[in-house]
């Protein structure tokens, strides 16, 4: 799901870094507004590590298995820490496993992190809608489905408009549309998984779901 080095033109990777810097600055600014900003750092860091590990859980979908992205739920539980968390996760992924890339770190962070923030805002609507298990499940599904969905669309748009292929604009649009549709089953699995996880957290440790 991450864009490797060498494919995108530098204008795109540089804009990615610029956007990432801006969003990170905004997040850090929001975190520093809290009474004791340091208190949440260990929680955010350990949850980041836990999300990193949990995204390695493989779901059997014969004939293969899929793993999850979980950026929606990450946004929900980490709030304004979500974007820095994703940036750190992607940095370590690029450095340790060469998955993603160093020049594309900025743009990859935007692809994964922006939807996480959106999910955080959407999930906060639960405060108005009610915090029953059904509502938590419904919003969890929305966060999981939407988080991966927006990421997939962003990724495909960036890849297909920038890959140095002289593709026709209409062909490009069809390709983006078809490939997005192909991801819908994955988005549904992600949504269901996130909903189940959110309900579990609501039962066991409701304070993890920040909007709570």
């Amino acid at each position: 799901m991450h864009i490797p080095d060498g494919i995108l033109p530098i204008s795109v990777t540089a804009s990615g870094y610029a956007a990432t810097t801006a969003i990170t600055w905004y997040s850090v600014h929001k975190i520093n507004q809290k009474e004791n900003p340091r208190e949440d750092i260990p929680k955010a860091a350990l949850l980041t590590a836990a999300f990193f590990v949990a995204s390695l859980i493989h779901i059997p979908v014969p004939p293969t298995s899929v793993h999850l992205v979980l950026n929606g739920l990450l946004g929900v539980t980490l709030g304004y820490f979500a974007f820095p968390a994703i940036l750190i996760g992607l940095f370590f992924q690029a450095v340790m496993f060469q998955h993603g890339g160093l020049t594309t770190l900025g743009i990859n962070a935007v692809i994964m992190g922006l939807p996480a923030l959106v999910c955080f805002y959407i999930f906060r609507l639960r405060n108005i809608a009610g915090k029953g298990e059904r509502m938590t499940g419904a919003f969890g599904f929305l966060a999981g489905f939407g988080g991966v969905g927006v990421s997939a669309v962003l990724l495909l748009v960036i890849l297909l408009t920038n890959i140095p292929a002289e593709l026709d604009a209409s062909v490009e649009r069809t390709a983006i549309f078809t490939l997005t549709l192909a991801h819908v089953p994955l988005m549904a699995i992600e949504g269901a998984f996130t909903a189940l996880m959110a309900v579990f957290l609501q039962r066991v440790r409701p304070e993890i779901l920040v909007g709570a």
């Binding site: 850090v28 979980l70 539980t77 450095v95 066991v204």
Partner: protein, 253 residues
């Protein structure tokens, strides 16, 4: 989860001895200069510089090959598809497939850039302990929230990963076997994921208390005793000139 990235950080080479802040700035500049290169005639020079940096670093070739294997798959897909869909000048026709010149050229430059950037990245992070790299980022102005999160993330990643493995083993020992997709199986795995989140969350509490007891958050003396010698700075100047040369060359040629 064994990363083996710092397997060779204790070798002795000029790149290992290079001051980490200078190394970070210099090699990152080189990486971005490489990502700028689009001109075919400059690609050989880029590969030569990459090979030279790699040779100076004394990292074994097997280390690089092992690390290139996984990201290589994606690039392989691009290499196999792009020459057939991109461009209009057909150089070779194979049945329904046309090999196109523009596609071939962009594949060449993508592959060369990918190889060079990844190799320089491996040299950068394979010759310095990861924690030292983060310290030098902090010294260069990375917000402390990010640096602290990165330290703690790295500190607990492997423990949490081991914990997940233990839980999975325990589930299997109790007779769980998930071969088909089912809502029941999905729920079990979601609870597994949820448990790992809850455990980490609870652990963070005691981690924070222990950190406070040890003086976390108090202004103390700087832990970043990095010092760049004139030799480090000269090396940085040379690398920055090389990086600038690539950008200038790509614009001028």
């Amino acid at each position: 989860m064994n990363i083996g990235l710092d397997q060779y950080v204790y070798l002795a080479s000029p790149l290992h001895r290079w001051e980490p802040r200078c190394k970070l700035i210099g090699l990152m500049a080189l990486i971005f200069a490489f990502s700028f290169v689009g001109n075919l005639s400059i690609l050989p020079a880029m590969l030569v510089v990459t090979a030279a940096v790699f040779a100076v670093s004394k990292l074994p070739v097997s280390f690089m090959l092992r690390r290139l294997r996984y990201p290589g798959f994606f690039i392989l897909a691009v290499i196999l598809i792009l020459p057939f869909v991109s461009g209009s000048t057909v150089v070779l026709s194979m049945g329904p497939l046309d090999l196109r010149q523009e596609g071939l050229i962009s594949v060449l430059s993508i592959a060369a850039r990918f190889l060079s950037i990844l190799t320089i990245g491996l040299v950068l992070f394979g010759t310095t302990p990861l924690l030292t790299t983060i310290k030098s980022m902090r010294a260069l102005g990375l917000p402390s929230i990010l640096a602290d999160m990165a330290f703690l993330f790295f500190r607990y990643l492997f423990e949490i990963s081991d914990e997940l493995r233990r839980m999975e083993t325990a589930m299997r020992l109790r007779g769980l076997s998930l071969r088909r997709f089912s809502i029941h199986g999905l729920r079990t795995l979601a609870w597994l994921g949820g448990s790992i989140l809850v455990r980490s969350y609870e652990r963070a509490d005691s981690v924070y208390k222990a950190m406070i007891l040890r003086g976390y958050g108090q202004a103390g003396r700087s832990q970043y005793d990095l010092r760049a010698s004139s030799r480090d700075l000269i090396a940085l100047g040379v690398i920055l000139m090389v990086a600038g040369g690539f950008i200038a060359g790509d614009i001028l040629v």
